[in-house]
Amino acid sequence: MSFYAFFGAINQGLVYGLMALGVFLTFRVLDFPDLTVDGSLPLGAAVSAMCVLSGVDPYLSLIPAFLAGFLAGAITGFLSAKLGILHLLASILTMSALYSINLRVMGNRPNLSLIGQDSVLTPLREWGLSSTLAGVALFLVAIILAVAFLAWLSRTEFGQALQATGENPRMITSLGVNIKVTIILGVGLSNALVALTGAFVAQSQGLADVSLGVGTIVVGLASVVVGETLFGGRRSMPIRLVAVVLGSIIYRLAVALALRLKIGSFSFNPSDLNLITSILVVGALMFPRLRKAQAASRAQAGKMNRA
């Protein structure tokens, strides 16, 4: 793999690592499968792009993007926790509605070009870094801050209540926590991180596109399960968070390798990505079960040998 492709993959792995942390928060901590992310990623991109185009500082534009994502997630949480709509369906409803909203945010255009505009990478590029390396540096800082924040949060009273909401809602309700509130805030925070990813992606590639979010949930799940499969599931929260980020980076490296693969005249297109990723997620989800079945059949064979 070329130097350029390698750091390109690291760059992508880091920025989409933020999104994967958001997916981890809903999918693993809250036990709330949330498809809102496919809509909140382009929402963050659209909000940040519109801000930059109207003269807002690129760094300041991250704040409204973050808040917009939080709101989108909170709406999904509200539909599910307060109105009693099945969580998966609630998130699909929000995701679908966000498609229309994202087009509105971008002034009824399917994409916005940011070429020639200042971006979050501009200061770093002025120091002479290439845009890929500037992205690696900036997103590395962002992901360290995000992991540190979530690790801190997991040890607070609220964070503990959030974990208990996902694991044993009946118990935590009997201990006085309103799980409707923890679900709304938790899904909100998750989508805020995803929207932040969208803002970074739009600024670093100079384009906000309404179809940017297609397949986000599958990529997020891939990062979570790759991280868990390689670094083990039942560990302390900080280690689990780092595993998700490493999962995201390894996923991008694997994709970069797959795209260079040539078998005879066959090779993969970038548009095959969602198919490859889905197969990867199925494989990673089956892996622990296969290992268990294998261990069971070995134990069985041992018993037969003794007999």
Partner: protein
């Protein structure tokens, strides 16, 4: 002091399968009193528990706890006054969280959760002191995941969690039913220790007649959503499983509950 006044609750109202689970149910529980509640399936025990805990809203009547009318309080708000222990030892604790994290969640029962540390340093001493009398060695396993404990240990932990902050009312919902006889009797003596030491007002549902006779200050038999028999301490002391079962059959004949169903209790 708990007062339950004329509490009624029906399910499936207006349909052929309408069930009057509670029918103008009245009960007063003095401070520090433990009442064992028995009754066949469908007698309204579980509905009473879920109305007290806030999982169901009654159709009419009132629940007054320490002079406060809590009839319509949502479940999470009642947690400031009420502690619960469930039948399934798995449902009272979080398996993936540690012993001290579970205790810290219980130590904040009924208080808003903010961004302070989930476990304060000085709390660990308190947790060790609360766990040591169990004699299970849990005070040395504060950072172990609860999933590593046995069912009996988890139920003991749940009882400690329920009483870490003194509740105005303790609800025990068949909390020994899923345990083997030896573990069940250990859980019961722990329960009585905690109830006596903290003078806890307690309602205990049980399917075990001997347990209902042996423990507690009063025994209430429910049938058709009402109090069928109410044995105060001195009468309860004279009861045997056999005499209780006879009363039970008598109640069954009057209410028309099938014999086979009431025999489940024996």
């Amino acid at each position: 002091m708990l007062e339950i006044r004329e509490l009624s609750k029906a399910f499936g109202r207006g349909t052929v399968s309408e069930v009057q689970a509670l029918s103008r149910f009245n009960l007063a529980v003095a401070d520090g009193e433990l009442i064992s509640i028995i009754g066949s399936n469908g007698s309204g025990k579980s509905t009473l528990m879920s109305c007290l805990a806030g999982a169901h809203l009654p159709d009419s009547g009132a629940i007054i706890l320490n002079q406060e009318d809590i009839t319509t309080w949502p479940e999470h708000k009642r947690a400031s006054l009420i502690s619960r222990v469930f039948q399934d030892p798995l449902s009272g604790t979080c398996a993936a969280m540690t012993v001290e994290e579970n205790l810290a969640l219980a130590h904040r029962r009924g208080r808003p959760r903010g961004f302070r540390r989930g476990i304060a340093r000085e709390e660990r001493e308190l947790f060790r002191a609360a766990l040591a009398p169990l004699g299970l060695g849990l005070e040395k396993r504060l950072t172990d995941q609860v999933g590593l404990l046995s069912g009996g240990q988890r139920q003991a932990l749940t009882l400690i969690m329920a009483t870490l902050i003194r509740p105005a009312l303790l609800l025990l919902d068949e909390h020994t039913a899923a345990q083997d006889p030896k573990t069940a009797s250990r859980t019961m003596s722990l329960t009585m220790d905690l109830v006596e030491k903290n003078r806890l007002t307690t309602l205990m549902i049980t399917h075990n007649l001997a347990q209902a006779i042996d423990y507690g200050h009063r025994l209430v038999m429910m049938g058709q959503g009402r109090v069928f028999w109410d044995f105060p301490a001195e009468e309860k002391a004279r009861l045997t499983v056999k005499s209780l079962l006879e009363r039970f059959l008598e109640a069954s004949r009057e209410t028309g509950v099938g014999l086979s169903d009431s025999l489940l209790l024996a």
